[in-house]
Structure formats: C-alpha cells, structure tokens
C-alpha cells in the first residue's frame, strides 16, 4: 500500500486503547545504496524541534528550566505502527510502553 508521507505528517495518532498520543512530526530513515527504509516515527509536539533542526535554540532554554520531561518525543519503531488507515494511524502498543527520546 502506498502512503503519502507529506500528508501523513501532522496526523493525530492514537494508541491501542484509543488514547491520544500526539501528531506524527518526523520519520527516522535508514538509507543505503538503493533503498530508504523507515525505522521509526517521531510523535509529539516537541518532535517539531527535530524537524526544524532547532535543538541549539531549545537546549539552553531546557537547561535553564532544569527539566528532563519538559520536551518529550515518542519514538515509535515501525513494527508498532498500524497504518492500515492512513488517516487514523494507530499504535499497536499502549502509550505507557512508548520510549521517550532526548
């Protein structure tokens, strides 16, 4: 099945129980000789920072606020994402089992 990345960008994602997780904001891909495989999806408002390449700007603010959980990004491995309905992507796992990065 073909899915348009540019339209998937910004769609809301629910977890397996129907709980709101956030929006898809970025895609981790692995590129080799001829292919480009999607490893993981980054979800959550703060993933926008990733996409804007704005970490140098945000990091000092984060440091200033001494908070670890301030900017959370969920990284969802491709196996855990169900894209059978591209307009309503669902996780195959629960929100609490998700991995935070940064």
């Amino acid at each position: 099945m073909e899915i348009h990345i540019e339209l998937l960008l910004g769609t809301k994602v629910c977890d397996v129980d129907g709980e709101d997780v956030g929006r898809i904001e970025e895609f981790h891909v692995q590129r080799d000789e001829s292919s480009c495989r999607v490893d993981a999806y980054l979800i959550g408002a703060s993933a926008v920072i990733e996409r804007l390449s704005a970490w140098t700007l945000v990091r000092p603010v984060k440091k200033l606020l001494h908070s670890r959980n301030l900017l959370t990004v969920y990284e969802v491995p491709w196996q855990d994402m169900d894209l059978s309905d591209p307009q309503h992507p669902r996780l195959r796992i629960a929100k609490r089992d998700l991995r935070h990065i940064k």
Binding site: M1, E2, I3, H4, I5, E6, L7, L8, L9, E25, E26, F27, H28, V29, Q30, R31, S34, S35, C36, R37, V38, D39, E50, R51, L52, S53, W78, L83
Partner: protein, 124 residues
C-alpha cells in the same frame, strides 16, 4: 537521517546540475509484514496544494486542465535514482526526460520565446 528535515522540500538537481524543483511529496510503500520504505519522490502537480488544503488541490487541478502543458499530475521519481542527499538532493536522471520541467518548457515555448529578446529555450 530524518525524512522531513533532510529530504522533504529540498531542491532537486539532475545530472547536468539543472534545478528541477523541490521535493513536493514522498511515497512510502507499506507492506503486510515488511519494513516500510520510501518508493518515490513526487514533484509538482497538485501534491503541493494538497498539503495546504484539498480544495486548493482541486482548484490547481482544474486550472491545469484549462491551461498549460499536457503532462498532468505529479512527476514520480523512483527513490533508486537518488544519488546523494546533502545541501540539495542529487538525482541520477535528466530533468527534461522526467517531465519535471514541463511547465518551464511550456512557458518558454508559448510565452517567453514569442517576446522579442527572449532567446531560445533549447540549446542548439
């Protein structure tokens, strides 16, 4: 590599260093069990306007039917033709043959060349 930051909206350059537009969209192929991969790069057409609002995409399609080059819809370039991803994205294709320059050539032939001093679009 990050797809939105490093690929989407980047400029595409062909074998002869000719600008051939920007990445308007990307097609991901999702199989039953296999790992999803990027199959095509999309250039132009209503892809861009679809990103803003579906209504704009409809308008752009309607207008393209009334006017412009024959080649309609977005140009699809297989990911296998990507040579490198850096400041710009370099492709292993010739822009003219992909249809990515359809509008450029159409406007050159129908308008610009007809104005004195416009020059010829094609190199002899």
């Amino acid at each position: 590599m990050k797809l939105i930051r490093d690929v989407l909206d980047k400029k595409l350059i062909d074998l002869e260093q000719c600008d051939m537009g920007r990445v308007s969209g990307l097609v991901m192929y999702v199989g039953e069990r296999s790992q999803p991969h990027i199959s095509h790069i999309l250039i132009g057409g209503s892809t861009l306007w679809m990103r803003v609002h579906p209504a704009l995409a409809r308008v752009s399609n309607r207008l393209a039917q009334l006017w412009g080059p024959k080649h309609k819809g977005a140009v699809r370039i297989p990911w296998t033709r990507v040579k490198s991803v850096g400041r710009d994205i370099k492709l292993d294709v010739e822009a003219r043959e992909t249809g990515a320059l359809a509008w450029e050539i159409w406007i050159a032939r129908h308008i610009i060349e007809r104005i004195p001093g416009g020059g010829k679009e094609e190199v002899e």
